[in-house]
């Protein structure tokens, strides 16, 4: 790949990251914790956040009102754990989210449950708890905006957002 096409590919990834990871708050205080390092790097590079986000999958989904991890969620989180164990320069904040079917404060608590379920699974696979923070956005940051189950299913999620760690 020549330099020009590398730049083009990187730009495309940044654009993709912007589309697929609109969890940012847009505020100054949110830049580090919530944007994380997004999908930077090349998805073909297994040590890149882009690879983590796209090839492994940075999010797991939940059933209505539930915080239990499905088989599919467990396999995604296992792969996330493997990646985190290999790429020790990164820490992560796990963001828990709920769909809009519920009251605001209950959904905050539900999102906290989901984020914690993902975190505990990663810890059980050997990732140091000190590298993993959790935060809940409740129903404040839907990724899909329609009001039916197709959108709700994608909004009930826990997203592992990478941050370049202290050793960066």
């Amino acid at each position: 790949m020549n330099v020009l096409s590398k730049i083009a590919a990187a730009a495309a990834l940044v654009a993709l990251a912007a589309c697929t990871n609109p969890d940012s708050l847009g505020g100054d205080d949110a830049v580090n914790l919530n944007n994380g390092v997004g999908g930077t790097g090349l998805a073909s590079d297994p040590t890149s956040p882009a690879y983590f986000q796209q090839a492994i999958g940075d999010r797991v989904l939940f059933a209505v009102d539930q915080s239990t991890l499905s088989d599919e969620a467990q396999s995604i989180l296992s792969a996330q754990a493997q990646w985190l164990l290999t790429n020790t320069d990164y820490t992560a904040t796990i963001e828990g989210h709920a769909d809009e079917q519920g009251t605001r404060e209950y959904n905050l608590a539900l999102g906290a449950r989901r984020a914690n379920a993902a975190r505990e699974f990663l810890v059980s696979r050997g990732v140091a708890g000190s590298r993993l923070k959790t935060v809940s956005y409740g129903k404040e940051r839907p990724i899909e905006i329609c009001s039916d189950e197709g959108c709700y299913a994608k909004n009930r999620r826990a997203v592992t957002v990478l941050t370049a760690g202290l050793t960066g």
Partner: protein
């Protein structure tokens, strides 16, 4: 039923104070249901000079808007008037008002001296041909003209219903703008009717669910400033905020003041589990009230501070529970179909307002504090977050519309379920908290 008596009793007792209002002929008794709104005339107040004319007109309009907005009064349009009120002190031409069926008549005067306004008013029982209560006077600077109008309306409401008013009050809410997946939220304050909106925070961080202090001078709310939800306290007068102390690695939200204003009751999520805590605002000393693996959130104190109603999913779905303010055993009070949340104890102590979700619809409802006599007041795709008017007669809440263009806005409804009305705000609005009556 609301009913009004137009007995022709005339006597000296008509000048009695509002506390003895039950002896007065012009009367709305508010209880279970409602009938016809009471016909009311509020002619322009009489200005003491050209400079006061605009205030005199607008004050009368706000008085009329407050009273008709309660759903208990119907305004007779000025086009129907037979006579005009051109002097505050001249005798009222009762026959002219009786002829257009104005049961209540509010007359007033406005005088302006520099930037000082003085507003006087009288309330008349037209069919009895007498004054109801005695004339009152409010004075202040011109920028407070709407408050003076609200105070007149509160006095009229109070004299005719025998209950406290709610018009001279403010609402703090979350102003919302932007699309659903990029929503920007900031705290705002306004008069109860949507006038005089001022913003209290910028929208760089998500802010949620403000709650007024019992004296209306401070507001607690949740903010993501710093990246994680934490409780903030805002001085309304100075528009100064600070974060309350919190424990690293936890999230705190759903804050409410205790009735004495000294303590904050809130939810703290730690390790995925959410429980209720209290913290003394001055000392920072905290206490844990619940320790269950279930979610405990959305608490609300009884007005006497002795009990707490809250939301918990310990039974498998969110339901309402009551426990002592010190914690301990809780009793479930919601037993209807569906899920219950955001309970708020009424300022009178008699009712609990709540959000109910059932069969894909949301409702605002009220029940007695033992869970009996549940009544649903509203129904829509998404109604939530009730807050009580200072007199416990009206509930304001958030209504959000369905779909990709979904938008949140504020509504109010009488506790009878009547008089559902939008509260207009410049942008979208959610999470209202109603102040006590202003002093």
């Amino acid at each position: 039923m609301m009913r009004f008596l137009t007995s022709l009793l005339v006597g000296a007792t008509l000048l009695a104070a509002p506390a003895q209002a039950q002896n007065q002929p012009l009367r709305i008794t508010i209880d279970e249901g409602i009938i016809e709104p009471l016909p009311l005339a509020v002619p322009n107040f009489v200005p003491d000079g050209v400079a006061a004319t605009e205030y005199a007109t607008q004050i009368a309009q706000v008085v009329a808007a407050d009273l008709t907005g309660s759903g208990l009064f119907r305004e007779i349009p000025s086009s129907a008037y037979i006579s005009q009120v051109t002097s505050f002190d001249a005798p009222v031409q009762f026959a002219d008002w009786k002829a257009i069926n104005a049961q209540a008549l509010v007359t007033g005067s406005v005088s302006l001296s520099g930037d000082r306004l003085t507003v006087r008013f009288r309330l008349w029982d037209v069919f009895a041909g007498t004054e109801l209560g005695s004339g009152l006077q409010f004075a202040g600077t011109t920028d407070g003209w709407r408050r003076m109008a609200h105070k007149v309306a509160d006095a009229v409401y109070s004299r005719i219903t025998g209950e406290g008013g709610y018009f001279d009050s403010r609402v703090v809410f979350v102003s919302e703008s932007g699309p659903k997946d990029q929503r920007r939220k900031r705290l705002a304050i306004m008069d109860y009717d949507g006038a005089n909106v001022q913003y209290l925070t910028d929208s760089t961080s998500i802010v949620l669910a403000p709650r007024f202090s019992p004296t209306g001078d401070r507001v607690l709310y949740t903010s993501y400033q710093g990246g994680f939800p934490r409780i903030h306290i805002l001085d309304v007068g100075r528009v100064e905020q600070r974060v309350l102390q919190s424990q690293e690695g936890t999230m705190s939200f759903a804050p409410r003041f205790s009735p004495d204003g000294q303590t904050v009751l809130f939810s703290l999520a730690q390790g995925g589990n959410t429980d209720l805590y209290t913290m003394n605002i001055a000392s920072g000393q905290s206490a844990r009230l619940t320790s269950a693996p279930s979610i405990e959130t959305a608490p609300s104190y009884s007005p006497d501070g002795s009990r707490i109603v809250f939301e918990s999913d310990r039974s498998g779905t969110p339901q309402l529970y009551i426990m002592a303010a010190s914690g301990g055993e809780a009793q479930r009070i919601s037993f209807g179909q569906g899920r219950y949340g955001t309970p708020v104890w009424s300022p009178r102590g008699d009712l609990i307002a709540f959000t109910k979700q059932n069969k894909g619809r949301f409702h605002i409802g009220v029940m007695r504090t033992d869970g009996s006599e549940e009544r649903l007041l509203t129904a829509s795709f998404l109604d939530e977050g009730p807050t009580w008017s200072p007199n416990g007669r009206v509930i304001m809440f958030t209504r959000e519309t369905q779909g990709a263009d979904g938008r949140a806005s504020l509504y109010s409804v009488d506790i009878s379920g009547r008089n559902l009305r939008p509260v207009r705000t410049p942008d979208g609005g959610s999470d209202p908290t109603w102040s006590p009556l202003l002093q």
